[in-house]
């Protein structure tokens, strides 16, 4: 597809046709944008503002009561449950981000290399990704059953994985890796297909082969994709909620209760919406800071390597 080679996307705004403002465009633009703008303002922009405002109040699920300034945040920094949940979130990210990125790369290389089987391989790796989360969790739960589960049968054990302090989170991580790695594989596949074949032919003529080819051509071309995959995966992993909520309900002993789960409980079971909003804001700030740090690191590395 030719758009992949062009300088498209955000940067292309500068080179789009006729940069001068045309007078006749204002009305059609307003009409075309209106439907999206209305839904955007109603279902994103106002709720985002309201989340921030609510974090400064004492509110229930249905009504906002008193304005309390930054009191919720003061409570938050001294709330061990919040820090534990944040710690669990980071632990999950630690268990998933690198494996999901590396495995996605490996799978893409395999799909790309075995041309004749590539559709089958790609299908096998990607299929779990299209499962609804509850289907994924049902299957994982059934396979990990203490007495009749296939995993325990194969390993010759009787372990209750999701009730095990040490194993609950790693098992959620493994299930998540199985479930979502296909997405990363497709991203790397996109990067691989963008590498011109003649680069390989030239290098092969120079005598490069195997790992040397990978190091000289494939990896340099894929590095930006890997960087993007890492940060997207980090954000995705930080947002974990459904897997632990369904599979472990945050247990055993809250060892798998993650940030969004804590926020959900605070809002919907304790109806402390103001405090939940503060958790949400803190969470957004952490995610944004992480992405900015990553972007800064990536730029610094790129400059150092250049």
């Amino acid at each position: 597809m030719n758009i992949t080679s062009g300088d498209a996307g955000m940067g292309a705004r500068i080179q789009t046709p006729t940069p001068t403002r045309r007078r006749g465009d204002a009305l059609p633009a307003a009409l075309l944008l209106a439907p999206f703008a209305v839904t955007f303002v109603l279902f994103f922009f106002l709720p985002a503002l309201e989340t921030f405002y609510m974090s400064l109040t004492e509110s229930s699920l249905t009504r906002t009561n008193a304005f309390v300034g930054f009191a919720n945040y003061a409570t938050l920094v001294r709330d061990p449950s919040f820090w534990a949940a944040l710690g669990n979130t980071f632990y999950f990210a630690l268990l998933t981000v690198l494996p999901l990125t590396a495995l996605g790369l490996l799978m893409a290389l395999l799909v790309n290399h075995f041309t004749r089987a590539s559709n089958w391989l790609q299908g096998a790796f990607f299929l779990p990704f299209v499962l609804p989360i509850s289907v994924m969790t049902l299957i994982a739960d059934w396979m990990l059953q203490p007495s009749s589960g296939v995993v325990n049968y194969v390993l010759g054990m009787q372990r209750a994985w999701f009730a095990d302090l040490a194993w609950a989170m790693p098992m959620v991580a493994i299930a998540t890796i199985w479930w979502t790695v296909g997405f990363n594989m497709l991203m790397f596949l996109a990067g691989l297909r963008n590498i011109p074949l003649d680069l390989y032919e030239a290098a092969a003529l120079d005598g490069a082969r195997g790992l040397a080819l990978f190091r000289a051509i494939t990896w340099p071309a894929l590095r930006p994709v890997a960087g993007m995959a890492l940060v997207l995966q980090l954000i995705a992993s930080m947002k974990i909620f459904g897997q632990t909520y369904i599979m472990t309900s945050g247990g055993p002993f809250n060892t798998t209760r993650v940030t969004l789960h804590y926020m959900y409980e605070t809002a919907f079971t304790q109806s402390d919406a103001g405090y939940a909003a503060a958790i949400a804001v803190a969470f957004v700030v952490i995610v944004v800071v992480l992405s900015l740090v990553h972007a800064g690191l990536a730029r610094w590395l790129a400059r150092r390597n250049a």
Binding site: R21, Q122, P132, M143, M263
Partner: protein
């Protein structure tokens, strides 16, 4: 792959090294593919046995007695049919609305010059940074006030805001030569008409791919339906399946049958459209890379 073959013909030494890599690679590919398919096959094997075999003391890979009883029971009992209908309706509505809103907005951002364009586009892209999950409480409160809890509009509307789709479409439109539009403008065509009859036809793959991705996303969405749906007959299939767990207790054959039924439509859609999904995906990520 072409380069592998050229390298293979170079010299015997290289051929041997390449052969070793091919063997290792093939082994890894087979092993990984087997690991990724096995859980689905195991679920299928479970769904095809009578209930007592799932808790039998003797472990067997295949059913001793093959039966469709679990599927029949799941379909007969409870609301599985209704949940499938809800999922299909919701996913279809989300997809059509997302496509319509995003195509129009992307066209305006890409091709029309108007005051405040960068600002509005920037605000839209800001939504990349704020995860939907952070908005749950105000969204729930708003739906509560509007009386849209447990309604199709309540389930659908917050899902149609998709800045990623707009970003992808805009990138695609940006790369289409300006002459396309200029010619149509000369003919006196309006913006909607140009979008429909000039831009849409050349964007086939990417529109299909985004539509399929939206459909899969909406079909599988868990968190928002989980918040907004409270009655059993409004549930979508991912949500309903968590209920069957309670309803069926430890009836694993029926649980797996229900799971497979819930996954089947999307899995089929993916298998049928795999090429389009891949192509669209390649185009979309190529834009960012």
């Amino acid at each position: 792959m072409k380069h592998a073959k050229t390298a293979l013909m170079q010299a015997p030494m290289q051929a041997r090294s390449n052969l070793a890599w091919t063997v290792i690679g093939a082994g890894a590919a087979l092993l990984l593919a087997a690991m990724w398919v096995a859980p689905l096959l195991w679920a299928l094997s479970t769904a095809l046995r009578p209930e007592h075999e799932t808790v039998s003391a003797v472990f067997r890979w295949l059913p001793q007695q093959w039966t469709l009883e679990a599927f029949a029971r799941v379909l007969a009992a409870g609301n599985v049919g209704r949940w499938l209908f809800n999922s299909a309706l919701v996913a279809l509505l989300v997809t059509v609305l997302t496509m319509a809103l995003s195509l129009m907005a992307a066209y305006a951002f890409s091709q029309l010059r108007f005051r405040g364009r960068s600002l509005v586009f920037g605000l839209t892209m800001l939504a990349f940074l704020v995860p939907f999950e952070a908005l749950l409480v105000p969204l729930f409160r708003m739906m509560n006030q509007l009386g849209l809890i447990n309604s199709y509009p309540g389930i659908v509307l917050p899902q149609v805001v998709a800045p990623v789709v707009i970003y992808v479409f805009k990138g695609f439109f940006d790369a289409i030569p300006a002459d396309f539009r200029e010619a149509a403008v000369m003919d006196g065509a309006g913006a909607l008409r140009i979008l429909w009859s000039v831009y849409l036809p050349v964007s086939g793959n990417i529109v299909w791919a985004m539509a399929i991705v939206s459909f899969i996303g909406a079909w599988n969405n868990f968190l928002w339906p989980f918040i907004i749906i409270t009655s059993n007959d409004m549930m979508t299939i991912p949500l309903g399946l968590t209920q069957t767990y309670d309803a069926f207790g430890v009836r694993y054959a029926q649980l797996m049958a229900g799971a497979l039924l819930g996954a089947l439509p999307v899995a089929l859609a993916y298998v049928l459209f795999q090429r389009r999904v891949t192509q669209g995906f390649l185009a979309a990520t190529g834009l960012k890379g």
